[in-house]
Structure formats: structure tokens, C-alpha cells
Homo-oligomer: 345 residues x 2
Amino acid sequence: MKKELRVAILGATGRVGQELLSVLEQRNFPVSELIALASARSANTFVEWKGKKIEVKEPTDEIFKNCDLVLASAGGSVSKEWGPRAVKQGCVFIDNSSTFRMDKDVPLIVPEVNAHELENHNGLIANPNCSTIQLVVVLKVLHELAGLKRVVVSTYQSVSGAGKEAIDELQAQTKEVLAGNEAKPEVFKRPIAFNLIPQIDVFSEDGYTFEEIKVINESRKILGIPELAITCTAVRVPVVVGHSESVTVDLEKKVSPAQVRESLANNEAIEVWDDWSKAHFPTPIDCAGKDPVYVGRIRKDTSSENGINLWVVADNLRIGAALNAVRIAEYLLSHDLMETKKVLA
Amino acid sequence: MKKELRVAILGATGRVGQELLSVLEQRNFPVSELIALASARSANTFVEWKGKKIEVKEPTDEIFKNCDLVLASAGGSVSKEWGPRAVKQGCVFIDNSSTFRMDKDVPLIVPEVNAHELENHNGLIANPNCSTIQLVVVLKVLHELAGLKRVVVSTYQSVSGAGKEAIDELQAQTKEVLAGNEAKPEVFKRPIAFNLIPQIDVFSEDGYTFEEIKVINESRKILGIPELAITCTAVRVPVVVGHSESVTVDLEKKVSPAQVRESLANNEAIEVWDDWSKAHFPTPIDCAGKDPVYVGRIRKDTSSENGINLWVVADNLRIGAALNAVRIAEYLLSHDLMETKKVLA
């Protein structure tokens, strides 16, 4: 097992790329060389890491030949092209795009939920959608406690999920509206300042958005319950960082809110903030920049026999993307699963 | 039947009071005299109506003696004191507070749903909670179409539901945050600028907020289904006007999204905005200042056999308060139900 890795960040200048750099540093991930990669548009700029300036390059086969691990967050088309090429050069490629997530040969991993599926990886590993990750961390605990029967999710998703330009647009539009002018949508199709947009990603033929379909399909795959009864409504809200989810879960067995609270609190990845007598519950700004998945508002569902309602909040850039990817890499390292050349040979 | 009424607005200087004045004018409600009432704090100020300045007075029995109809939106304690006193003086008192809503002798009315219950009123009539009104207008149509089995609601509620000060707080906090300062919460317990607060109204012992309990209990009463399986999570969002709701409904019979769309579109109070191919759906700023309840994102629920998901948006100050109250008054007038003195004699 290599003790230190040559790590490439593909999409190093983007919002998640920046978060990847910061997470690698904070967690003291064993990096022998940090390689910053991005599309032609961002090549020849610099990113900072551990106080050093690193030049951003365009990806090449040669670069990947001298690299062990790629953490990619540069969009679906970039991953589609460079994922298989990087793996061919011997890299493990952990991809944040949706390209490979539903591919049956690619493990879709949330380490707290299904890390064991990494045993059989072929170099390509998919990082789930941000709103899926925080959800399945919680659902896994509930499933082990009392068996999942049905899940109904409504999301409240921050604009940072749509990239840097979306954050700029929220701020610019908000200033315009406060000045009495009209908001001019560009990144989003409708105004987002002081508004909500019940559409994330494009629509499919059945009226669901792809964001909703991702939550449904990816949750089923990660939890290993292909027939899980689950539905989702995904809504963009004028929040900068932090996705929130209102979740109603029907369980096979009857459990009390206190039992749910205890089981969730026992999970390392979760923090329970749930004391109604002190109005203690998570909000997005509490969670920005933090690692846990926060859960509050845990109570008996008044509409079903064995139902529980919860409110789940997490930093969509960290736990929802960068942190999950780095945790996958940490698991690979600690379980001696970094060797892909042999598999491909 | 009186052709024109002496109408008092109790709470005339508040956000809903102002909306009541505007709705009365726009709908050309037959007013012979407009009486503006408010607490001592606002007395001796003026409101404008039909281009005239009207002095705001404190309520007295004498004033109600010379008045036919009171539209009240001045908070629970004011209604509790003055509701019965106004009725004793012969007024019909349509109350926007939650004080009398669950009283079995007080009809709780959404005219499009249960206007017939006005037949037996005793002077006091309750206007439901804003988030309830837009929900039951839609649920009533679905119930008639295919029978309600279970309802799961997550709300996205604008700050105007918490009054003028809340709107000011959202704007002030937003300016502070944009200037790089911290948001200082006063009206809300937590920052609302670029944030969400999963608490509306105070908490009850079972972990539900009173806003959620209102949606549950009032929907059951208005729809006349005391055992309706319904649950609610109510969340404040940084939007000025317009409440949105993500609603999952299990129905007794299987119906298609197209059938649901058609039934809803046939209802006078509802506008269906639901063409995913054109990304056509309602958002709060589309609905502010408008009278209909808007419904979009109608699709088959992927988590249940006969389920439908919907997205419901309406102006919480109009349909959610002022317009509903005036429609109740219009129904009373057109059905010769304004005479309460006889009932009380």
C-alpha cells in the first residue's frame, strides 16, 4: 500500500474543487503531490493549497499516468471522457458527476452507509448527489432500527449546489430587488432572490426533475433496496450554502421519537439538534462549513401508524460532495483498495 | 336583507388589515360606512380607503352597535375580547385569529369548500390559517375526484405571515448580510436572511409547532373528515409574500396526473400552471397580489400506488386571509345570512 498519494483535483477552480482542497488539507490526507486540473478556460490560473500556489493544468493521459487518485468535480461530460482514461492510466477516479452513478459496475458510495461495496471497485467510483448523501445517512440508521417502508422527501436546496455563478446570481439579484429593481434571471430560469424555484435540473417525461430522480434512484442503490417506496420534490431556495430536507418515513416497526433520536445520535456522522423546549433545531447557516449531518424536528407522523417526521440539514458542498469523496479515498487507503492497475491489466 | 353594510376593520393598520381594505375596494363590496379600528397604539392614525382618509379608532361597544360586519385581524387576545362583544351588539364577526377556529359552535370557513356551514352561524365566523386555506381548496377537489386517504405537507412560508415587522426584519437582515455583517434576529428567533427556520408559532408538547397543528386540525374540520390522516412540517423561508406547499396525497382511487390537472383546472379558485416542457410552474413572486390558488408539478407519486405529488402556491395575505374573509361576507350577503340579532335575541 502506498503511504502517500499523488492526488489530482479535476475541476480544481470550481466551488466543490475548492472545497476538496480544503477538506484534503483539514483532514491531513496523505498527499505526496497535489495536481490541479481544469478545463481550458481555467488552465494556467492558480489555486492555493497548504499555502502554496499550484498551477492549474488541462488533463492529459500523461498527467494521469503519474497520478494515483483523481477527485473529479468538473461536470458530466468531462468525467465521461476522462474517467475511463484516468483509470486506464492506473488512477482511482472518484467522480462527483452523475455520469456513472447508476452504472451497475460502478459503486455509488456513502462510506457511512455502504463502504463495503468498495471491495469490488474497478477504478471508477461514484459520489452521490448532494441531497442524496445527507438523506441516506439518516435513512440507513432508520432502516436498521425499524425497517424502511416508505419515504417522502421535500427538499430546500441552496444555490451553491448550482455552482459559483448561482451564488453570484442570488447576491446580485437580491441587491437589485432591495434597490427596487427587477431580478434578472440568467443561471436559474426564474428569479431566485426572495423566491423559490420548484425545479432543480431538467425535467423528465414523467414530470419529475432529474434532481428528484437522482434522490429516488441513488437512495435505492446506496441502501441496497431496489424497490424502496420513495418520492421527492426538489426545490431551490434563496440560501447560499446548506441543503435542508423535510422527511416523512413510514417504518415497519413502531418506534418512538426518543428511540429515533438515540439511534441517530449514536451515529458518528450525525448530530441531533432536537430540543423543542429550547427551539433547538438545525438551520442551513448553522451547518455551513461543518461536517455532520444535522437532524431535528423528530416527531411522530400524525398521518401514519409507524411514521416519523424529521428535518435533515447538511453542508451540500462538504458532506454533500467534497467530504464524502475524501472519505471514500480514506476508506480505500485504510483497506488497501487503491491498486487498480492489477484489476485492469 | 341590507343592501349596504357598515363594515369595521379591526386591525386596520396591520398587513392583513391593509389587504382587507384593498380587497373590499377591488371587489366593490357594498359598504355604506367603513370603520377603521385598531389597538390604542395605532388609534388616532389614519388609513386610506377609496381615496379618503379614515381615522383609526379603538373598538367600543357603541361603535359595534352601529356596525353590521366586523372583519378582524388584530390578534387572538383582541378577538377573544371583542368578538363576543361585537356579536352581542348585532355584528357578524369574521375573525382571522386562531382563537375560535376549533370551537365546535364556530364555523371555520373556506367558501369554495364548506360555505354551506354558514347556514347555522351564530355571529362568530372563523377564517382559517393562511397555509390551511390554499391546501384545503386543493384537497377538496382531490377528495371529490378520488377520495383522500393520506396527506403529507411540507410548507415554504413567506415572512409576511408573521406581520410587517417580519418583512422589515428580512430586508434589514439581508442588507446586513450582503454588507458582510451578521444578521441580528428580533422578530424571528433565528436569522431569516439567506436561511430557513423550521419553526412557525410556538412548540407543543409533542414536538409539533402550533402552525403545523393548525394545518392538521383545521383541514380536518373544514373538509369534514375528523379522522383524516394528515401531517405537516412548516418552514419559514426568506420570501416576502406567498406561501408554497409540497403536497403528497394518497387517494382511494387511482387517477392519472392528467385527471387531477383537469379537475383542479375546472375549479374557479384554482389556476393550474403545469407544463414541464416549458418549465411552467408557480413560484411565490408569480402569485403575490393574485387571487387564485396556483398548482403545478402534478405527477404520480413514486412511493405509493394511488399517490399524487403537487406544488401549491398562493398569496398568503389575500387568499390566505383577506380575500377569504371577504368571500365569506359576500356569501353571507348573497344568502341572506347577515341577520344575527334575531339569533341572539
